[in-house]
Amino acid sequence: MLSVKDLVVSVGRGPDIVRNVSFRIEPGEILGLVGESGSGKSMTSLALMGLLPPTLSISGGSVMLDDTDITYLAPYQRVRRNCGRVAMIFQEPMTSLNPVLRVGDQIEEAVQVHDPDANASARARELLDLVRIPDAAHQLSAYPHELSGGMRQRVMIAIALACRPRVLIADEPTTALDVTVQRQVLGLIRELCDSLHMGVLFITHDLGVVAQLADRVAVMYAGELMETADVGPLFRAPLHPYTAGLMACLPNPESDDPIMATIPGSAPRPGEIPDGCPFAPRCDRASAPCRSGLVPLVHGAPGQSARCHFPLNERAGA
């Protein structure tokens, strides 16, 4: 199981872009990490992978996988130390595959790293079957540009599975795909999560997708976690005004109001984040205590917590 504790990611000597983020992912569980673009969710995931770009670094906290500290290890170091793996699929299946190598070679390469004794090509075919790519034997010799977007994302999933991951990180894997293909890929991720008993960190800006797919949700804003909860309680009774604001922005087919709600103002940029609660300047419930000092952790339904002075649906004694 993956446990992230007080993770801080910063830009060189500059501002922190991920601050004190903590969460856990259990095997067979999908955690949806929701936030606007620039909220730090992608950087959180790259930090978990050990793939932060050279200008960024982890400056605090820890990432534990099955009781092994993997915080500062790049993927190849994790292979060398034989600890559990985290694998990742990315937003752009178009550019995430090497254009000059055949699909089969790219999968086999991952197989060889993680299963040195396996018959790489047989295993690659098995993986393509697993991600539901028809005519696997033939597709192995295709180049990425010969496949559709959905097929490419399936290949990416196959590569990730070749690493035999305990946790799969999916960074907006369906944003670049058509709606019908999106559903298929989401279905596949759910299925693999269940059948392989693998944890999934699903990153998205789309609360609708989270509602369909995730077991639990973490809401991120300006580099911090605002609220964590199981899917049901979160949608039924959000604690944090920001979560509630996001939900109000979802289109509601039953409403007659043609104008969709928005949250006033815009998210602060790293380095311009105010003291206290980062959401306070845009929050209609905010008052003096929100603008400085630490924000308390409040609890709602079992497993639900948020950082807010004036939560919406607090349940006393929870």
Partner: protein, 315 residues
Amino acid sequence: MGRYVIRRTGAAIATLIAASIVIFAFIHLIPGDPVYVMLGDGATPDQVAALRDKMGLDEPLVAQYLIWAGNALQGDLGQSIFFETPVTQVILAGAETSILLALITMVWIIAFGVPVGILAAIRQGTMIDQGLSGLAMLLASVPTFWVGLYLILIFAAGLGWLPSSGYPSIFEQGGLANLSYLILPSLALAAPNAALILRLTRASMLDVAREDYVRTARAKGIRPSRVVLRHILRNALLAVVSAFGFTFAALISEAVVTETVFALPGVGRTVVQSIMRRDYPVIQGVILVIVCMFLVINLIVDLSYRLLDPRVELE
């Protein structure tokens, strides 16, 4: 692919035809009657008439071009005024020197520019990178003939290790040892061009390193050295290979100067001497041959680039 080969070859032929018209027009753009210019003012009317006749200058321009181009297609580039031999012979006489010079220079360029460019890219931002990038820019700012003169001063006149000028054919006495005559010239010629290839290699390595698929490769847990070799280098070199055509053109251009510095009996020096001698048919012929070679080499580079890059539709 087949259709691409045809289209690309067609474009090359069209460019060649247009270039040949420019080269043909050249002789008519020279102010004054080319025959008098070539023969000098003391020419007798008989000589003038004979040359006019030989060069077909009394025909209409279009007919002249067609005759000239037709002859060129059959390997007849006309007569040298100075040598009074066919231009093709004059070119062939310099071909060995020039081709060997270009090949040896290409070897230096690839042997130095590519690996050092890779080194600079791998060590991006370090002192090594800054030093190498600075060196590359310095080399690109140095006139080849100046480098050549210093090489002569140090290694030929000073240390006496290598010959300073001339080049006896490898088919004559001395055999392959005669290649030592080409070492200093090829080094001088390689300097600025190796610098360009170094910069290009470094830049395209860094470009590719930023690609998403390199991140995918790292995510797989592959060793960093293998990520560089298999995923970055391979894709980066595609861009470098496509620059070889232009490097070759630059080589030919600068060989004109280098061959003059080292008194090499090559085609480039022939051009310079023919300009002094007003031997226009030779100038025309050499330029036509060089343009032809340039187009063929670029065609080959382009087509092989397409073969190496599977993204192109293989019809």
